[in-house]
């Protein structure tokens, strides 16, 4: 069937900010959908509040709205743009939920909008747990015994029937948010409370736990002619009980016989037909009882998902792109397979390699969080690796994670052992517990279990991990022991780290076996000497009989020729990389998402690839994150899906011989490789490694600042506790402290007094003589400013100056900011601009640079200089309408800013606010106070003509819409009280009634305001938390000083966050909120597309 001609303009919904459970995979799917629809000649109108996405690039859609993803906003868009159809399946749960809301509000009917991809009925059937269960029973499939409840009373009745352990699962949430396993009545009641709050419709499913069953996922596609294909069967290494997003997953399924697989496939076909997903992709999860093959359906997502992104990257079959084409009427047999070119999309990919995905966690940033993995997702990213065997893929995936583990490193100092029985009972117990309880370390505990002589059966009994996987891990651990034994035997004590580059012939075979098993040189060295430093990278020439080669991902197991160079390394005899002799540049990506390094950097890498393509230069992308746009084989000329370690990257460089390597777009991951790669003679493009070092090395940086006669906060570094006290006193409290070896604000803290400093040293337990403590003057009440600039060696252009809403001291990634600055005067702005230009010149920046300034009483301090792409590059680009990363890439290739037409800071009349989004509710974080350590997972942008509206939009987009009336609860530290008076007056004028804790209330009533006093927690009940929990409060303003008052007030903030009550922990943010309320009361909501905003920006670069 040809494409539909009855629709012309399609409305596409993105997935909003990056949160746990919804990450860049939906930028990948949304971008593919946009491109596919545009390619077919449709107009695309797009809504996504996340500016860091490729899909919101203004040239991808006809109208791009970076606006709150609410019913009101969509109605305003419908009113302006009158789309004919809505494609709801590309933007994750967010898009699906918003679509349901639109249907419920009658807006689809009112504006005559057709849903394509999935009907309202099928969404309901798949998402409503009760309807889904009924549907499954109709087609003779089993689901876990369950029931859905809307109140605690119903829940308690239900649990009598289901029994423990039971899974508590709220309806319509993403990433299984709010889900848990309850083992007893007490836990159950607690989880029910949370789940009822988490579910947007107040409905919760309680179901029988299938703990220990094997878990599988099938990615299914269907077209209008009812052709159905399975793209990929995925098997979870972690059995049921761990959310699939938190599980190690493997493709294809490893332990299913054909009989079992076909039964599952048949079930999947029946399900997609029964649910009635007309076109596009769905993801269906199954549980299988390992004892008798009994099959149970867990759930179905009637949309593309994180797993479909994984399946796309795992097979080379672009699910989202095909799903978009199916949605507009094509059938699978009409769509060509891009990779083979001769076959059609109507087939089932076959995989001649093994794919392993391992999730990435960042628990270390959240104190006191439960690290046990359960049915709600806790990971923030993932890495994927391909190898010819499971063992090889597993080891590659481990080093792709960048957790400084290059293999199955022992957590208990047992490396090189096997079947060791002389183990202290405490260690044995720790290992057994680590195997029994699912955490991010379980895989390593299993390896240790094998090292101390636990059998495969023991480990299966403790963990329910399929014995096949345990055997595979055992093979690796056994080899490690053999490696140590034979190397030591042959080389004795003469072993030196350079040995791998010059092995005696009798050990070459052993080394070859190691490489076949996927070992990195780093790990092999580590096993021998305890040190992993220095890599030999014995490069095997393409002519060699066996060695490390590159193979292509081709969807068809080599049955047809692959035309797409989507490559992975493996041990083999024939290399398929076939490098070209074109001029080429290699871009190193950012690896797995984590807090502090996410989609923004992938955005930059993708732009770099686009720029190179425009310049006619071949691009080679290297990355290992399956969620991203950068790992779409369409984005670059050649894609290497590989770990970003020195050895793995060098192997590609040796094979490809690129003219240059780009390290400044992918965040810390590639930046860390700059110096080691340069040391191997690899040409680094743009700003040189030495300049990067000058900006990162504290001593050299201070010299730089002094040489330029600029200011930086007073600082020192302490190698002993008493030194730390002396430095702190000399600088004067409060001070900012951090250990010297960490990145991204890890363990960074503001210290208010000597006691707190002692406590900090105690808690972090750092060895000061090894890692000195860095102490900085904490500039109180300073305004923090972020600047992004581009330099070409001759000219530096400041692209954007952003003023943080929160005062300095809060990590820039967590702080809201305003572009252009909201309160800075012209003189300060000019000063900042001048300093930026001088720093860029002095550092010889070629490409992007980001500087963080603090402005205190008119003085401008430099906090940090990063000669690389920053997190704010996409935000600035979307605001000013200039693709900064693309410009930077061109500059790095020798173009001049003047020639590119980007010669001065653009001016414009709109205002953009960036706001951060936090994972507090998903992780159950106990204190949500912002600080110098970054904890946000994503960001949104609010854009409007006034600061007030832009801020209000940013809050709505972040999921905390500012209320227009109700009770405002104020509890502020003494220093903030005078300013709070002003704030309270305005709130009262806006119609809010005021409540305050004792001190705050007293101060406000002294100054003539009507305030009700509420109890602090220690002052008896009902207290402040009770009021918040009872939803009597519309907004909370809570600022605190020293750490003891921080601890006291933590429950207040927690109650607000978990109760969904807007809260502000800084006075500046509260003031911005008041501006927002004033704006919203003054003028109605207006939406405008980025294309419209950009038309009014001056000084745009040439296209």
């Amino acid at each position: 069937m040809p494409r539909r001609t009855d629709i012309h303009r399609i409305f596409l919904i993105g997935s909003g900010p990056i949160v746990i459970g919804q990450a860049c995979e939906f930028d990948y799917s949304g971008t593919q959908a946009c491109r596919a629809l545009k390619e077919e000649g449709y107009e695309v109108v797009l809504l996504n509040s996340n500016p860091a996405t490729i899909m919101t690039d203004p040239d991808l859609a006809d109208r791009t709205y970076v606006e709150p993803m609410t019913v009101e906003v969509v109605e305003a868009i419908f009113e302006r743009d009158r789309p004919d159809a809505l494609l709801p399946t590309m933007g994750g749960q967010t898009a699906l939920n918003l679509t349901v809301q639109l249907a419920k509000h009658g807006l689809l009917e009112k504006y005559g909008i057709t849903l394509i991809g999935a009907s309202y009925e099928s969404i309901q059937k798949a998402e409503d747990r009760e309807l889904f269960k009924q549907a499954m029973e109709r087609i003779g499939l089993k689901v876990a015994s369950s029931g859905s409840i809307r109140s605690k009373e119903e829940a308690i009745q239900l649990i009598e029937r289901i029994g423990f352990p039971a899974i508590v699962r709220p309806s319509f949430t993403l990433g299984g948010a709010g889900g848990n396993i309850a083992y007893n009545r007490e836990e159950f009641e607690q989880f029910i409370d949370w789940a009822l709050v988490t579910s947007p419709v107040g409905q919760v499913l309680v179901e029988q736990s299938l703990l220990g069953w094997k878990e599988y996922e099938l990615e299914v596609m269907r077209d209008t002619k009812d052709n159905v294909v399975i793209i990929c069967p995925i098997e979870n290494l972690d059995p049921m009980g761990v959310h699939t997003g938190d599980s190690i997953t493997v493709a294809p399924a490893m332990t299913l016989s054909d009989k079992e697989y076909q039964y599952m496939r048949n079930a999947a076909l029946k399900i997609i037909r029964e649910i009635g997903v007309d076109t596009g992709g769905s993801n269906i999860q199954f549980a299988l009882n390992p004892a008798n093959g009994e099959l149970t359906v867990i759930e179905m997502n009637p949309r593309v998902s994180r797993s479909s992104a994984l399946a796309s990257k795992a097979t080379g079959f672009p699910i989202a792109k095909i799903a978009a084409k199916l949605a507009i009427g094509y059938t699978l047999d009409e769509i060509p397979n891009d990779i083979t070119r001769v076959t059609k999309a109507s087939f089932e990919p076959t995989i001649d390699y093994v794919v392993v995905k391992i999730p990435r966690f960042t628990f270390e940033k959240f104190q006191g969080v439960d690290r046990t993995l359960t049915t709600h997702m806790k990971s923030v990213g993932e890495a994927m690796a391909l190898g010819q065997t499971f063992k090889e893929a597993l080891q590659k995936a481990i080093r792709s994670l960048e957790t400084d583990r290059y293999g199955l490193v022992s957590l208990h100092g047992l490396d090189g052992m096997i079947g060791e029985s002389a183990i202290p009972p405490a260690t044995l117990e720790r290992i057994q517990a680590g195997i029994r309880t699912p955490t991010s370390d379980r895989l390593w505990h299993i390896a240790d279990g094998l090292r101390i002589g636990l059998s495969v059966k023991d480990i299966f009994e403790l963990s329910s991990v399929d014995p096949w996987f345990v055997h595979e891990i055992r093979d690796l651990v056994e080899f490690e022991a053999r490696w140590v034994r034979e190397m030591r035997h042959d080389l004795g004590k003469t072993f030196s780290p350079s040995i791998l580059s010059n092995l005696p012939p009798n050990l070459c075979e052993l080394y070859e076996t190691a490489k076949r098993l996927g070992f990195s040189d780093h790990r092999l060295r580590q096993l021998l000497s305890g040190e992993g430093e220095g890599v030999s990278c014995r490069n095997t020439s393409p002519g060699a009989e066996n060695g490390m080669v590159f193979k292509r991902v081709d969807t068809c197991g080599a049955e047809f020729e692959a035309h797409t160079p989507y490559l992975y390394s493996t041990f083999g005899s024939v290399c398929e990389s076939n490098p070209t002799s074109r001029k080429k540049v290699m871009i190193l990506g950012g690896g797995p998402n984590r807090i502090g390094q996410g989609i923004e950097f992938d955005y930059c890498c993708v732009h770099a690839a686009m720029a190179l393509r425009e310049l006619g230069i071949e691009t080679i992308m290297v990355n290992c994150n399956p969620e991203t746009v950068s790992t779409d084989y369409d984005v670059s000329d050649r894609l290497y899906f590989e770990p970003l370690t020195k050895e793995d990257v060098l192997r590609i460089i040796y094979r490809e011989q690129p003219d240059g390597v780009v390290v400044q777009f992918g965040g810390q991951t590639p930046l860390k490789l700059a110096v080691p790669l340069a040391g191997e003679g690899v040409p680094i493009l743009g700003t040189q490694p030495d300049s990067i070092d000058r900006a990162e090395d504290r001593k050299r940086f201070s010299e730089l600042i002094a040489a330029l006669d600029l200011l930086q906060p007073e600082n020192g570094s302490a190698r002993a506790a008493h030194e730390a006290h002396i430095i702190a006193v000399n600088i004067g409290y409060p001070v900012m402290v951090r250990p010297s070896y960490v990145l991204g604000g890890r363990a960074m803290k503001i210290i208010y007094d000597a006691d707190a400093l002692d406590r900090y040293l105690d808690e972090t337990g750092i060895n000061l003589s090894k890692h000195p403590l860095l102490i900085d003057d904490y500039l109180e009440d300073a305004i923090e400013v972020d600047v992004d600039a581009i330099a070409d060696g001759e000219m530096t252009v400041v692209a954007g100056i952003m003023e943080h809403v929160e005062m300095a001291g809060i990590h820039s990634g967590d702080s809201a900011c305003s572009l252009p600055p909201n309160s800075l005067d012209q003189a300060t702005i000019r000063k900042i601009e001048r300093q930026t230009i001088r720093l860029a010149q002095e550092l010889g920046v070629i490409g992007l640079m980001n500087i963080q300034f603090a402005v205190q009483e008119g003085r401008v301090y430099i906090l940090e200089v990063n000669p690389r792409a920053s997190r704010t590059v996409p935000f600035v680009s979307k605001t000013i309408g200039a693709p900064l990363a693309k410009l930077a890439m061109k500059v790095m290739m020798g173009n001049k800013l003047a020639d590119l037409g980007f010669i001065k800071r653009p001016s414009f009349s709109h205002i953009s606010i960036k706001e951060a989004v936090f994972p507090f509710t998903k992780l159950g974080v106990s204190d949500v106070l912002l600080g110098p350590e970054m904890r946000s997972t994503g960001e949104v942008m609010g854009i409007d003509q006034t600061f007030g509206w832009a801020f209000a939009k940013s809050q709505a987009s972040a999921g905390m819409p500012i209320p227009l009336f109700g009770v405002a609860l104020l509890s502020v530290k003494d220093g903030d009280k005078p300013a709070t008076l002003e704030l309270a007056k305005r709130l009262q004028k806006l119609g809010f009634s005021l409540q305050g804790t004792k001190g705050t209330a007293a101060y406000l009533s002294e100054h003539g305001l009507e305030v009700t006093t509420v109890n602090k927690i220690k002052e008896g009940r009902p207290h402040i938390v009770d009021f918040i929990k009872n939803k009597d409060i519309a907004l909370v303003v809570n600022t605190v000083g020293g750490s003891s008052s921080q601890d006291d007030s933590a429950p207040i903030r927690k109650a607000a966050v978990f109760g969904g009550v807007p809260y502000f922990t800084t006075l500046q943010a509260a003031q911005a909120a008041v501006l927002g309320i004033e704006a919203m009361k003054r003028s109605p909501l207006q939406v405008q597309s980025l294309q419209e905003f950009h038309r009014l920006v001056s000084a745009q670069p040439k296209p």
């Binding site: 399924a253 009989k259 076909q262 390992p290 009994e294 059609k344 096949w468 055997h471 049955e559």
Partner: protein, 394 residues
């Protein structure tokens, strides 16, 4: 690990590790792209004369289960895999793959670059090969590969067909009830008497017939038309089997004389023999179709089914290439009357099925009985029973 070599007739040699029984084996090397079902593949008599190379890299993980065999033994001449699991992990598994290979005297090779080998066969075509654990001299092994007789024109059917007729009574095994779909149209009663001419039949064809309410009687390939007529069946099934259809002229003759007498279902080799019986020539494909992911269009419904395939030969069509005729229904006059091409491969346009317009003949190149592979095409058995019931062709 013991070394092993694989030499192809064109002189290409791959080195790997020994798998299965220690020894040496010769056969035509073909690759199969199925990700599951190695046991079904090994025991499929159609692989007589061939060494099977699996493109999926981890083979043997779920061991072998007695119920999953497609015949009483392994027919493949040898087995090539990237990595054979030493363990078995499945509730139904009774044996590890390597024990199974040993027991059935199968010589194999593993830990070689199977993707490179597959690409080589794709480029150069299927050819004879020798796996050896004993002779590790590449030149001598290549010589043996060159000297071994190719499959074309050989009668491999006589090596795999049953020796004497027998009745088959087992449907889909009760043990697998929870694992197989309730696809049966029968209510436990046998309505049709079917004679299966065994060219190397897969047991799942027999089970599927039972599931569809048939009484099944299997006869050797050499059974004469006269004998078959005396059995007075309601329908005939010409089964799958190994090798070149032109190698079994006696079967072609038998089939020819039965066309029009009773409804006929041809599968795989049976389909090719039916083709020859109609006067449609067959040809050898470059590297065949072997796998579980082959898209086939039913030209009448325009729907795609994902099929299980295993064939090196195909029935010629006047316009073989997909792009020359598109996917239109194509009618042809043959010496046995008019036929209609009903199925074509979406990958290369190859004829995957035809039916008689004057006689009740239903013929498919792929495997509607699956095992291994998707069950999308089981409707063929229902069409066959309809044809028997209504005395018409469907």
């Amino acid at each position: 690990m013991k070394r092993a070599l694989l030499a192809l007739a064109d002189g290409t040699v791959f080195s790997g590790e020994a798998l299965g029984l220690e020894g040496e084996t010769t056969g035509e090397v073909v690759f199969n792209t199925a990700m599951t079902g190695y046991q079904e593949i090994l025991t499929d008599p159609s692989y007589k004369g061939q060494i099977v190379l699996m493109t999926a890299t981890q083979i043997g993980n779920y061991g072998v289960a007695t119920q999953d065999a497609e015949s009483r033994k392994i027919w493949a001449e040898g087995f090539i895999v990237r990595e054979a699991s030493r363990q078995k992990s499945n509730w139904r598994a009774s044996q590890t793959l390597s024990d199974y290979l040993q027991e059935h005297h199968i010589v194999g090779i593993q830990n070689l670059d199977t993707r490179a080998l597959t690409a080589h066969i794709r480029g150069q075509g299927s050819q004879m090969g020798v796996i050896s654990h004993l002779d590790l001299d590449p030149a001598s092994l290549t010589q043996k590969a060159k000297a071994s007789p190719p499959i074309v024109g050989r009668d491999l059917v006589k090596e795999v067909t049953c020796e004497t007729p027998y009745d088959w009574e087992e449907g889909t095994l009760p043990l697998l009830d929870s694992v197989l779909p309730p696809n049966s149209s029968a209510n436990g009663q046998s309505t049709f008497r079917v004679v299966v001419i065994d060219f190397g039949v897969k047991q799942n064809i027999l089970r599927s017939l039972i599931d569809h309410g048939c009484q099944v009687h299997v006869v050797p390939a050499s059974t004469t038309a006269e004998t078959i007529r005396r059995l007075q069946p309601d329908g005939l099934v010409f089964s799958n089997g190994p090798g070149d259809p032109e190698g079994v002229p006696y079967a072609v003759k038998t089939v020819q004389s039965l066309i029009g007498w009773k409804p006929i279902l041809g599968i795989c080799l049976g389909h090719q023999i039916l083709g020859l019986a109609h006067g449609l020539p067959t040809h050898k494909l470059k590297f065949g179709h072997h796998g579980g992911n082959h898209p086939v269009m039913d030209l009448r419904t325009r729907k795609i089914e994902i099929t299980s395939q295993n064939h090196n030969f195909a029935v010629d069509l006047p316009h073989q290439k997909l792009y020359e005729v598109g996917m239109d229904l194509q009618r042809m006059t043959t010496k046995m009357g008019e036929v209609e091409v009903t199925h074509r491969s979406l990958n290369d346009g190859c004829c995957e099925g035809f039916r008689g317009l004057e006689h009740p003949v239903l013929s498919v190149q792929y495997h509607p009985e699956a095992s291994p592979g998707p069950h999308d095409s089981r409707y063929i058995f229902a069409q066959f029973t309809t044809m028997m019931r209504e005395g018409l062709h469907v």
